[in-house]
């Protein structure tokens, strides 16, 4: 179920494949929900790996982006951590890592697309974010460009977080993948390739990043590239 480390909370989230409730809330759906759904076996494998490799992560399945934000808000308001001697219980941790694991392309990931990205960015900005917030968009090619559409989703999201209202108040890095991905950041088994077995198309700036020997830190994962916007500290 995860735990808070030094007042910092990490979340691994995935869009639920079925049983979506009616859409409610301020973030519009705008047909951004992934067309390809994660299968039950893909989800159970990823969740089991996260629990094994990165037990500090809270794992969330969400019905839409509003559901994701509300579940994170509940965690930020209810989770506690203990430190010091004698032990003192602290409340209200901050959000340090949000990883969204989904089918994706340079313009869509986990229900986020250019149609609702500004609403989603506002919602993330309104949470209790840590001084260094990291957002991972785990899916294929989220950090690469499709030549016909300009900036990729990771770049667009990085430009919007923090908002102008909270300019330079915290640092937000949005990480996108460098190619067709298997694995994820929290599971420490991410691999990217320029070409996939099923598709010959190569997106701009994509790179091969093969399997790395030994365990790596989630912070130095070479299969992701990070973007920061002008408002970021």
């Amino acid at each position: 179920m995860g735990f808070v480390v030094d007042g910092k909370l990490r979340v691994f989230a995935y869009p639920k494949p079925s049983g979506r409730r009616p859409h409610t809330g301020t973030i519009p759906a705008r047909d951004c929900w992934p067309r390809a759904q994660l299968s039950a076996s893909e989800i159970s494998t990823a969740v089991a790996k996260v629990k094994l490799v990165s037990p500090e992560y809270y794992v969330i399945g969400y019905d839409d982006l509003n559901d994701l934000i509300s579940q994170i808000s509940v965690l930020l308001n209810t989770q506690t951590w203990t430190s010091g001697t004698p032990p003192v219980v602290h409340h209200h941790p901050c959000l340090e890592v949000l990883e969204i694991d989904s089918h994706a392309n340079p313009h869509r990931c986990g229900g986020i697309c250019p149609g609702n990205i500004s609403h989603f960015a506002d919602s993330v900005d309104s949470l209790n974010d840590c001084d260094e917030l990291r957002i991972y968009l785990s899916g294929c090619n989220t950090g690469c460009r499709d030549s016909s559409h300009g900036a990729c989703l990771a770049e667009l999201l990085a430009d919007l977080i923090p908002s102008a209202r909270r300019q330079k108040q915290y640092r937000c890095t949005v990480y996108g993948t460098k190619g067709y991905q298997t694995g994820a950041n929290a599971t420490k088994d991410s691999v990217t390739t320029r070409q996939s077995s099923h598709s010959t198309i190569i997106y701009d700036y994509s790179q091969d990043q093969p399997v790395r020997p030994g365990t790596i830190s989630t912070l130095t994962d070479p299969t992701y590239r990070g973007f920061r916007g002008a408002n970021s500290a």
Binding site: A104, C140, A151, S199, I201, R225
Partner: protein
Amino acid sequence: MTVSLTDAATGFRLRLDQKRAKFVTRELAHEKKVRPHHRGIDMKSDASCLISVRSPGRRERRYQIFDGTIVLEESTNLSWQFFAGLLLMDWLKQAQPAVPAPPFQPAVP
């Protein structure tokens, strides 16, 4: 018969003229016949273009294009290679105003 393409990134919808619509339906049927089929999509990739084919007296058939070269038939969840998808993506690109790309400057390369 009406064939329309929707850009999944922008939501832009393009209705094809009869000549191009015929080409798309013929190509979809031909490739379905000659290419090996797979169930679903085996990579963590999402659709970039949606194809809707409406024929009089027939149910609407919907397809999704992944990474320009794979098509998935929604009704059967079968996918197969479809290189004409690159051409369809080009048609969508040409029909929309060009988006100027800012310089590519990742903070963490």
